[in-house]
Point group: C2
Chain length 380, copies 2
């Protein structure tokens, strides 16, 4: 299977069961990407653990790694795969989202963005070419386009200008990555570029932008700028509106989303890739995903509960430890609680995607959606 190929294996309504080929292996979709921001998963989980948790794609953050340890260092160490010892498919974001959310913003110009590092205040310039060079140094399998991520809602005029600039930036990304991939000492010469659709909450701008970036015939397309202030209904509406205009034979990635319910609803609308910090972040507060909803392990009723987080769960934590022990660890501030709870939540997300893929293969996704979409995201 040629790198960059996306095979649509089966569909049910708008939902798609597919496979996507990268230089580090074939990804079965729909898929949830596990977030390892700075080359490590929050909660003391390493690349070997990720494999055991059923992770198919690891996602790292370009901005964080550029700031520390520096992408030149990572390149010198043989790229991020080798540095963190993850040998499967990997995606890096463009740094754009962090530049617009974490860093002290300075100025957006046609060339790119000047900002100050959140670590040491150092002045940094990043534009499409810089983002591609950093991601090329990291050597991920999928590089994301450098775009402007706008909060919702935003004035129509601003959004229109922004998507036009993001389209121009995308052309520059494509040209630069093509150049970088042809260099003799590139870390991962088969690195691919995904474009990112923007347009805020304006249906027509979303469609206009998707059509514009589809023309560049990239190996994949993301929907960006959602889950950044708008309601869930608006997010689903945008997916309904824009996905029919995304190329059918390319994977679609809904960035930064979301709850199990959001994922099931995203799949139902034709999304193939997801990512979110929710499983790790929620775990840190003791909020644990189960098929019956979100369990709060700090609840007093679990003090002497000898059962695992979810009965029948195959994760390393549920196979070994009781709710009572996990509650004790979290209440005592033991770091071990973070690891065990994060492992459960990541396994739950990866296993959820497996259940979704199984349902799609068996033509029972509609029934799966009806049973779980609401239930999984409620608090129990």
């Amino acid at each position: 299977m040629k790198i960059g190929t996306f095979n649509l294996l089966k569909t049910e309504g708008y939902a798609r069961r597919g496979e996507f080929c990268t230089a580090h292996g074939v990804v079965q979709t729909p898929v949830f990407q596990n977030v390892g921001t700075a080359g490590a998963i929050k909660g003391a989980v390493d690349a070997f653990d990720l494999k055991a948790l059923g992770c198919q794609i690891e996602l790292s953050n370009t901005y964080h790694l550029h700031v520390r340890p520096g992408d030149q260092i990572v390149r010198q160490m043989g790229g991020l795969h080798r540095f963190m010892r993850w040998d499967g498919p990997m995606l890096t974001d463009s740094g754009g989202f962090q530049v617009f959310s974490l860093a002290t913003l300075r100025k957006i110009k046609e060339e790119g963005v000047t900002f100050h590092s959140h670590v040491d205040g150092r002045r940094i310039f990043m534009g499409p070419e810089e983002s591609m060079r950093i991601q090329s140094n990291l050597g991920s399998d999928i590089a994301m386009a450098f775009d402007e991520c706008i909060e919702n809602p935003a004035p129509r005029e601003y959004v229109k200008d922004s998507i036009d600039r993001t389209t121009r930036w995308l052309r520059r990304c494509k040209a630069e990555l093509t150049r970088l991939n042809s260099l003799p000492d590139t870390v991962n010469p088969q690195q691919m570029l995904f474009g990112i659709n923007q347009g805020g909450t304006y249906d027509d701008l979303r469609i206009e932008h998707m059509q514009a970036i589809a023309e560049l015939d990239l190996p994949g397309y993301a929907i960006g700028g959602l889950a950044v202030g708008e309601s869930t209904e608006v997010m689903y509406h945008i997916l309904d509106v824009v996905l029919p205009h995304a190329p059918e034979n390319k994977p679609r990635y809904l960035m930064g989303v979301g709850t199990p319910s959001n994922i099931i609803e995203g799949v139902a609308r034709g999304v193939d890739f997801f990512d979110c910090v929710m499983p790790t972040r929620n775990a840190r507060h003791g909020h644990l995903f189960t098929h019956n909803g979100i369990l709060n392990i700090m609840n007093a009723k679990y003090q002497t509960d000898d059962r695992p987080i979810e009965e029948g769960c195959g994760c390393p934590t549920c196979q070994r430890f009781s709710r009572a022990y996990l509650r004790h660890l979290l209440k005592s501030g033991e770091m071990l609680s973070q690891r065990l709870l994060v492992m459960h939540n990541l396994w739950f997300y990866n296993h959820l995607m497996q259940e979704i893929r199984d349902a799609l293969e068996q033509g029972t996704f509609a029934a799966f959606r009806a049973e779980y979409s609401e239930k999984m995201s409620k608090r129990i």
Copy 2:
């Protein structure tokens, strides 16, 4: 082999190679006990990891578990072995050391000590009987006597009164544990009691106290009240003075000690058991043990160093990750750094004990001591 049996397999000078039988397995000595304070090892290491790190005895803290989650809760969960899923030998301290160091001290009386919990300020009374009841609820294999741990130096008169009281307390510990072990629903009816030698830095008081407690014919004896303010030379001197008066056919445990050098020197003087938070605590600051000394992973020279912490090391961290990656993780504040660095240090300590046992078996301990005693504890 009967529980409580200590077989002396071989000696070299004062150093001893032995084995000690507990209800959860036979311990090969000299041994280093791995500290899991509240039923978890600091740095996100669980009971299954401990096995992989070569740990033979896990040590938990009575005071911490009494305060949180409460020893009654642990008992209800089937004891600490089952609660934390450690199925090997386990020792619990008496709570005495923490009462005298962590808690807000109230009053020492003949009955015991009244103090305030460091977690919620709650008033707690603990005497020999209470300590035994808590340790019985935890169900460890070795319970430590409830003693007074005095800082060094302390006035002679005070030390004399204190060791006499500690001897009286030991008799009460023995009587109470005998009673608890005979109850029908005891968690671990084969729990054993180790006495603790005190006497500050006074040779004659140390000897007098050791002779007094040896009369109780307990399965093991600890040297307490060292590494609490006195110099290393004084500590070694006390060992030289007191160990000849410890029963030869019982294991000897040097509490809270120490550096690799302290351990080698302790073995050379006839110590069989050790414990210390040093491998976990040092790991958290990036101080890593090697055969050539203590490596500080934060050092800039490791930024692009592709080698493991120590070449040839068999620990899970050295088998997989580079100095450069570990340095990056620690600098970035990633929790994963704690886990990987703690695993190396614990493995190093457990492996060091294996090397010491091997040397004793081969009659080469003197050479081992000459080569490594100084070298391992210096900073490189």
